[in-house]
Symmetry: C2
Subunit: 649 residues, 2 copies
């Protein structure tokens, strides 16, 4: 316990039935399209039967597929998504499919508990040789998360027991003991997995091991130096050049900025928050708070995207947020959501859940197509035709558009997205013995058990396209508890009515608290005026100077060529322009749009050449209508330009 009443309790995703609205539709798409599409890819790339590729890399079934060392993790995240999905939506066929995969994994486990298909089948000689680069513990972590979710969703212990055996193997190998390896993984993740395994099994050694990995990370002498020397490599020749890349340049408690590979970073921070929650270690919470502040006040895209740089798939420095070249990996925003939820539960404040909502609606959902079967890895905030100068095969100087793909050589993002959406109910709420926090608004039915009794909360809303939220309380008998409703930071004000009567809310740390004894059928109406906001960036963000982003509610909008023609850089929204937020029922299943009038700044006539004196040009500045759509939905129609940050004047 970090503090009295903390950490808050999480809810299990099946406690929230999301049977409509935005997330109902998205969750159904993940269930019916994304999970099957990923399974198909796992199958044709032989991730599902990796254990039986006894010929190793030369097995003809590989058929040219590129094997990466951490492909167990892709399968593991799919199992995790399936587990969460089955928890709410039983599906015997899907369960049978997963059981088969799980049986193969179990059979692949070595006598001593070791469990990794790549290092069993392909490179057995390389087991545990390179924790820095080869992701073995990362794989283990994902398998643990998958096992815990599958156990949750089906009650079946096969994978859980298998992973417990593997965790025991790992626990024997790594640790502070003289005979143990004082190491940790280059890619944090196993910390999250071990905490989940601890929660599922009650075995405290797993929690202690997670804490050991965090505590040991970045200590001197650096484990990665020792390990590299032991295998005969020059530690100074590390390809990423610096252990900042894997957040191992110094101990986490001494770190104060988000740095390095952004997925590694956010997994580490999320794991540290979980460990702090379970152990009460406030020094980890303190480090997390400092890094959170740095990240969200200097290094986060408006979409909740993290990591501007392709070079390290990660962070650079404060206010460096280029749009067109943004990396903003889908996985990083997902990791941010994990972290945000964990932070809230030990430090209840909407600063975390506001960011969680931002990432969910924008930087994460942009990672998947409307149909659910194509994916972005990077999520730039502006897109123009481009050429890779080294890929001129099919005609030179023919730029192409950035589009979602069916799959990737390193397909970490698709199953990551599937697991977070399948588990979305988990992010709706947290609770203590006497308080229910409601974080997310969406048509849904939620059950929470408090000591005072079981509570049902039914939500009716067209959020995020409309800010009116109606809640109905279901209780067996009059039940006292505090209901804490998140007042999103995008809302300039709000009104709250209980049973039709306006109440003045007690807002603390971003939540409006209603403390009363609730009767069955009590209603709460939260009205969040959802005006169109022109959002401006911090003056140090040079990439966004002279531009605004349009946001309505939690949704960040963008301009697409499909609606606004090409050369979006020449479209300027006057500060006086009236902006209207609406639902366009003809767009997808009916989504929010923002419309208004802009001007185009191209000269009326361009005489030729690349450069002209402005004195020779004439400008007309005719008003042109424009339409903005949710950023997450870009690139679902015909290919074209896209911009989040639009010029204004």
């Amino acid at each position: 316990m970090v503090n009295n009443g903390l950490p808050l309790s999480s809810i299990r995703s099946n406690q929230v039935k999301i049977d409509g609205g935005y997330w109902g539709e998205r969750q159904a798409t993940v269930r019916t399209s994304t999970i099957p599409a990923i399974h198909h890819q796992l199958e044709i790339t032989h991730r599902t039967d990796a254990w039986h590729l006894h010929g190793g890399e030369n097995d003809p079934r590989f058929d040219g597929h590129i094997v990466h060392k951490f492909w167990d993790s892709d399968l593991a995240k799919w199992i995790e998504a399936v587990g969460y999905s089955l928890d709410s939506y039983p599906d015997p066929d899907l369960e049978q499919l997963a059981d088969k995969v799980i049986q193969a994994i179990k059979e692949g486990q070595l006598e001593d508990g070791y469990l990794n298909s790549f290092f069993t089948v392909i490179e057995p000689q390389n087991k545990w040789r390179n924790l820095r680069d080869w992701h073995e513990l990362y794989d283990a972590g994902h398998l643990m998360e998958g096992a815990a979710a599958y156990y949750q969703g089906t009650g079946k212990r096969v994978l859980l027991d298998t992973l417990a055996r593997y965790a025991d193997h790992i626990d024997a190998r790594f640790g502070p003991g003289e005979q143990q390896v004082h190491g940790y993984c280059g890619h944090p993740e196993v910390e999250l997995g071990l905490v989940k395994l601890y929660r599922a099994t009650g075995e405290k050694r797993y929690l202690n091991l997670a804490k050991y990995f965090v505590d040991e990370r970045g200590q001197e002498p650096n484990f990665f130096d020792i390990e590299a020397a032991a295998r005969g490599d020059d530690p100074t020749k590390f390809w990423a050049k610096t252990y900042h890349y894997c957040q191992a340049h110094k101990p986490l408690r001494e770190q104060n900025v988000a740095t390095g590979h952004s997925v590694r970073a956010a997994y580490l921070y999320a794991g540290a928050a979980d460990i702090s929650a379970e152990t009460g270690d406030s020094t980890l919470l303190d480090a997390c708070r400092v890094i959170w502040e740095d990240l969200t006040s200097k290094q986060m895209y408006i979409t909740g995207g993290l990591g501007p740089a392709h070079a390290n798939e990660g962070f650079t420095f404060g206010y460096d947020l280029p749009n067109e070249s943004a990396y903003a990996e889908t996985c990083a925003s997902i990791a941010l959501v994990f972290w945000a939820k964990s932070m809230f539960d030990i430090d209840p404040d909407s600063r975390y859940t506001d960011v969680m909502e931002r990432a969910l609606y924008n930087g994460i959902m942009s990672g998947v197509s409307w149909e659910g079967n194509q994916f972005f890895y990077a999520n730039p905030l502006a897109s123009y035709p481009y050429v890779n100068p080294h890929e001129h095969f099919s005609g030179i100087n023919t730029p192409k558009h950035y589009r979602r793909q069916d799959w990737f050589v390193c397909p970490c993002c698709p199953p990551n997205l599937a697991r977070v959406v399948a588990n979305l109910g988990h992010y709706f709420s947290s609770h203590s013995a006497d308080t229910i926090y409601l974080h997310l608004y969406n048509h849904s039915h939620m059950r929470v058990s408090l000591p005072a009794g079981s509570v049902q909360i039914d939500q009716e809303t067209n959020y995020p396209w409309n800010g009116d939220v109606s809640l109905t309380i279901g209780v067996a008998q009059a039940t006292p508890f505090k209901l804490a409703l998140r007042i999103p930071n995008w809302a300039s004000n709000f009104t709250l009515r209980v049973n039709g009567v306006t109440v003045s809310a007690n807002v603390q740390r971003g939540y409006a608290f209603i403390d009363r004894t609730w009767n069955n059928g009590d209603t709460i109406e939260l009205a969040l005026p959802m005006s169109v906001e022109r959002i401006v960036s911090h003056p140090n963000v040079r990439h966004n100077a002279g531009t605004v982003a349009l946001q309505r509610g939690p949704v960040v909008y963008c301009l697409e060529e499909a609606d606004n023609g090409p050369n979006l850089a020449n479209l300027v929204i006057p500060r006086t322009a009236k902006l209207v937020g609406n639902v366009d029922s003809s767009l997808f299943s009916g989504v929010g749009v923002i419309t208004g009038e802009a001007v185009r700044t191209e000269p009326a006539v361009w005489a030729g050449g690349l450069y002209q004196p402005q004195s020779a040009l004439q400008y007309s500045y005719d008003a042109v209508p424009f339409k903005a759509i949710p950023y997450s939905l870009w690139a679902n129609r015909e290919p074209g330009e896209m911009r989040v940050w639009v010029r204004e004047q």
Copy 2:
């Protein structure tokens, strides 16, 4: 001869004594600072005694210096710069230094004429194994250019004869004969060298070989495929992925856009223009014209910089001209000048010499520090602090500024810049039997021999800071000829007076022709009003939307943090702002500046965080004075931000 009277004759640099003004000072700096600084680097990196490193790469004298396969070229360009410099400014010490180097080169020549220190001393087994990547013919070309220049400057034939022997060796090896290799170099350059060797020696085989290399390039089956297969490499595994990179994807005569590595491209085009001039092959001229139009109307920075992309050090596609990440290698702008001058001489039009002037004053001179001893390789048009995400050694998140360096692992640019400035007189003028074209304006004294007699033209001007140019004609007796003065495309109008009397000029293809019989002491006054111009980019250049560049005369200006404070992205020049062009005598030796009033668009107060609704912000838009300095001079004072394209409204 391409046409009657064409190609025009070039002048030799020592026919122009540039003893003052902008170029006088710059040439003196190259002579007294750049050439010695480069020699020092050549010496400490053992380029000057490469031939004596008989231990090969293990010779202790290497002392950690990285050897690249084409390091002869660095030395060759220095010799070339020395040759041109000695031509105008004899310097026995410098000549002795060069003679010593040349003697070593001569001694390094193999019995059969082969001449390349890397492939003689370090990797003799790899001679002629990989023309695509290993630059042997490129080295040869630079040595030929060096030999021709040194012969020109000193009359000494040692290097010229050595290179003629090597050229004979190459001529025997490469060509259309059955026993010959039907190959060419991955990096065009030898074509330029062979033409110069031909001009210096009169040996037509060298010209024919140059033409063979151009003609053979890109023919099917592709030589690079054949060559790769012959050495056991998979041709499809070419690291640059496409032969566009080296302009060998198809024959030059079928190419119509500038593509690939920009230095390779422009050397190839310049060589083709030279060959067209010498052979009268109009098909090469036609190809050059088409590519010139593409390059200058779609792919050239306002500075004359070429190649936006670091990935291929070259071109991408039309209108793709990012500023901060611009590659715009100094060498590419130098190659553009070679090409421009060659094009003019076969197709006299200011479209070429206007670009030549643009590159000289901006994209080339930015490549060297004011002091002459530090260099840029890439010449971005905007600069902000940055981190290389893989170089976090000395503290994380500490961005640094882009600065010129003493030297590079691949130091192609510094000696390239030295040779072009040392030979600057060459670019001042071209002539036919009856016409003298004057391209560049600068304090100088030029001698040209026409059939009708010798002509001296003395220039008095403070160009490029002032557009008034006074010319005085020196002739032994009354001499009829046409004087054609370039009317720069930046000049909206001009006035011309001969002996004090205004004349209405006959302007053809950008040159004002004065056709008369000139007497000794005749004066011409050309007045080019040098107003400050706001330059706008083509509407397709998204990177420059909403911005202007300031230009006065041929000089492109920029804003630097040293004058204007940080956050230059927030500085906006109103369209109504009065802009004043002046000379600031306190800046360097007295250079042009542009001053005026701008506004800053930061909100008066920033509440915190990264993103704020604009409705919550207040703006004051106070006028602030700003000062722009010549782009080429940026990064000569304290480190800071820089921008060429400045926001306007």
